[in-house]
Symmetry: C2
């Protein structure tokens, strides 16, 4: 087993495969297209947006950026989404969230059909994750974790996987994906007693709780696989860091994903993969 | 803590509360009404249907039974469901499942609006369980487990809950409900290594794997709360039994639900609770 699980390497590998699929689509006259919709100019997720631009350019996905003014109102947002949903040139739609508080996210999501919901916004996509049915896509970061494991030949089947964090976008969908992959899955959170002991029982530990350097060596069973979903800007160190204290944990772990260049590097590539898959499905 | 967690007692208590809510609805001219739809006459779940009749009569819910012929076809089923969905007299709709193989369950569910989906068939209801949003109802048996715990004042917060079984109707939704109640939740299944040891780490063990008397004393931490979701007809003994070997486990458990008269006794009452809640919501 490789010791460092590089999201950059896994993403590059997936992007190469996506490029081929895009060429096949283009040969059939189809250009896979991602429409992004943002309300207000300055998003906190500008780095995510830059990553999307980079991946789409590399893979061959056409990008349409739509920006609505901050005070646009629900009707204008829904009109825009419905227009993109009807547009045969649009393969997939990404709505940047969270929306301004005055806007209703669920009602906006309902304007998108599951076949264009590349970011798991709709009830149908959520239900698909829950039921394990095909035809919809899981949240990109959760799926990125699975893809990173697969890239390094790590099969979660039979492993005890402990997921630290229970958010709707990462912790819970990832728990569902790991369960589907036949792991025994424990979800931990702020109310968990003896948290370090529970984590030490993990063959696979996923840190997705959003607390910088929370996971130290006392959380790690020697040889365990450790995925770090956390992303924090450490001003003192002048670099990105994760939920895991990498320097202290890496010597114990059997394999570990770094920050940056680990799980986070997978997210925009998974989004691109969904756009390509959506374009392929729409072709049929 | 009571040693025997009686679903009959908890259901009777809930039914008494539902009766009062039904009286309040009737005073406003509303009779909560459950429409059941069955395809083909002889269901394997005849005992569930009898329980529903009994609970509805006791609580004051009007029951409409609709039976479609076995070879009815998808269109006829969907027409029937849409008619009931539009009917202002129908508060909630229960479609008996599984359907004959020729029929499409998801397409049938899509004919029911979330507000009448008292059995968690629709994507919206599943997404609601997943996201923890209100306005839809969880599967009745999973919710029955939570209600049974609540009736006996057992708060799962901080407990390590182990759910044995990962079905879409019980194991997974129950894991989600327990997580929302701040338990640390582990889902186990046929691929789990060292199953007995994992179960022995549980403060709360839920057996929902569908194997008669699978859970023996070696699965139990002394003092643990044990819920038995299994229902088996033991012909030799001439009685219903569960997934738990009750006689062997009960002396160790801090509290345990019997079969029959445990979790199973909650299901039809939870369904009735959803019908009453639906009628109340529709009134508004």
């Amino acid at each position: 087993m490789e010791h460092i699980l590089s999201g950059r390497a896994a993403a590059a590998d997936l992007q190469a495969k996506l490029k081929e699929r895009v060429l096949a689509l283009q040969a059939g006259g189809i250009v896979p297209t991602l429409a992004t919709v943002r309300v207000g100019e300055d998003g906190a997720d500008a780095s995510y947006e830059r990553a999307i631009v980079r991946v789409c350019q590399n893979v061959g996905i056409r990008l349409q950026k739509h920006v609505l003014p901050l005070g646009c109102g629900q009707a204008a947002l829904e009109d825009q989404l419905r227009r993109l949903d009807r547009d045969p040139e649009t393969s997939g739609i990404l709505l940047f969230r969270p929306l301004p508080k005055a806007l209703d996210e669920a009602a906006a999501a309902a304007c998108i059909r599951p076949g264009k919901d590349v970011d798991c916004m709709t009830e149908a996509a959520l239900a698909g994750v829950y039921l394990g049915t095909s035809g919809s896509w899981a949240p990109c970061t959760a799926e990125g974790c699975m893809r990173l494991l697969a890239h390094y030949g790590i099969d979660p089947a039979g492993m005890h996987a402990v997921v630290l964090g229970r958010s709707a976008v990462v912790g819970r969908p990832l728990a569902t994906l790991l369960l589907r992959a036949n792991a025994t899955v424990t979800v931990c959170h702020s109310k968990t007693r003896d948290l370090a002991a529970v984590c030490r029982s993990a063959d696979l530990l996923v840190a997705a709780l959003g607390k910088e350097h929370f996971v130290g060596p006392e959380y790690i069973k020697p040889g365990a696989v450790v995925l770090d979903v956390g992303v924090h800007w450490n001003a003192a160190a002048g670099k990105m860091t994760g939920d895991v204290d990498f320097d202290a944990v890496a010597p114990l772990a059997g394999a570990i994903s770094p920050v940056p260049g680990g799980v986070g590097a997978m997210t925009s590539t998974m989004l691109a993969a969904h756009v390509v898959a959506a374009a392929e499905a729409q072709k049929e």
